[in-house]
């Protein structure tokens, strides 16, 4: 299955997921919001976990990011 996490605008803010029959999830254009969702789905996934941690250990960007509707979209501020 392939779905656009955020339907493309031309300016971007798009992440794409491909969920494989064996349960693997492939992601293109991984944004923090999608990474956080994936960590919630699979807390044992170290690859994603470290990426979320990297963002959280930085500045307070996560606090200021907007959630347009229920679509995980993260354009530039």
């Amino acid at each position: 299955m392939k779905c656009n996490a955020a339907k493309a605008s031309r300016i971007g803010g798009e992440a794409e997921l491909l969920i494989l029959p064996d349960g693997r999830v492939l992601v293109h254009n991984l944004t923090l919001m999608v990474a956080e969702a994936l960590v919630d789905l699979n807390p044992d996934d170290e690859f994603i976990h470290r990426r979320v941690a990297a963002k959280r250990s930085g500045h307070s960007a996560a606090k200021t990011e907007q959630h347009p509707g229920n679509l995980p979209r993260r354009p530039l501020p």
Partner: protein, 289 residues
């Protein structure tokens, strides 16, 4: 060609903005006889002539967002994807925008620099220019650099198909090159991306980048191409750039026109991933996550 100032040595970025501005002007003038990539088309993009990349003098972008997908030391990255590319990879995951230089919105270097600065203030660690292929938009990319803080950590994400003159203009402008080494032989490069003489050109670019900047080489594992492509890439890296960082990606999926190639209608299997890692470890490559 004589540049206004040829060498901005690595780490010496105080003058980066000024030099970038000077070089941007040179690069823009070069569009009259474009030889920024090794297709060496020689078309006059300033007058609307189109070479193999189909890009005129206008730069567009199709994505601008903060991402956390890249190597740990680069993320969060403010990633700006410019439309158009000089390669024609059938499996390109952004094929619709990468094959179409007219996709997306017009790239305004000054306006985008404002947004990039904001991204840095909000926690982005790097600013990364990618494509498509950014080399074909070298004037706009340098104009963008000229608008950025001299201390910003800049990443040039490229297919490593640049010409020598483009590399000369890029020297000292970006802190890190994230360069693809996609194919392990010329036959696969021709078949999958319609690019001739691939190995010689990419190797030349990688050797240059290793000498002039901080280099990470990326390889996207492709189903059915572990032995013919990854092994060849890995063996060359082990022999010629043994200390280079290698980003081995296993997230291939059959995007764009990949299905034209029967072996690329699926994803990389676990067996193939394990074999690829075994090769990397056997050759002592320095893999980064």
């Amino acid at each position: 060609m004589m540049l206004a100032e040829r060498n901005v040595s690595r780490g010496s970025i105080q003058d980066r903005r000024r030099v970038a501005r000077e070089r941007a002007a040179i690069a823009r003038a070069m569009l009259a006889d474009c030889r920024l990539c090794t297709h060496n088309c020689g078309v006059n993009r300033l007058q609307g002539e189109l070479g193999l990349c189909r890009a005129d003098a206008t730069t567009r972008f199709f994505s601008a967002q903060v991402e956390v997908a890249e190597d740990m030391e680069l993320i969060p990255a403010c990633a700006l994807a410019l439309s158009g590319c000089d390669l024609r990879c059938d499996f390109c995951i952004t094929g619709a925008s990468s094959w179409n230089a007219r996709a997306g919105d017009i790239f305004d270097p000054r306006a985008m620099a404002v947004k990039a600065r904001q991204a840095l203030e909000h926690g982005a660690r790097t600013i990364m220019i990618l494509g498509g292929e950014p080399t074909i938009h070298l004037p706009a990319a340098l104009e963008f650099v000229a608008e950025l803080p001299a201390t910003a950590k800049l990443v040039w994400k490229t297919n490593a198909h640049a010409s020598a003159v483009a590399r000369e203009l890029l020297d000292g402008m970006f802190d890190i090159w994230l360069a693809d080494f996609k194919f392990g032989n010329d036959a696969c490069a021709q078949s999958l991306a319609r690019v001739p003489d691939y190995l010689r050109i990419v190797r030349e670019n990688l050797l240059w980048a290793a000498e002039h900047t901080e280099l990470t080489v990326r390889h996207l594992l492709m189903p059915g191409h572990i032995d013919c492509c990854w092994r060849g890439v890995a063996e060359w890296l082990a022999a010629e750039l043994p200390n280079v960082k290698v980003s081995l990606r296993s997230s291939f999926w059959p995007a764009w026109r990949a299905r034209v190639h029967p072996e690329m209608r699926g994803t990389v299997t676990k067996v193939e991933s394990h074999e690829a890692l075994r090769i990397a470890h056997e050759l002592g490559l320095e893999l980064v996550e």
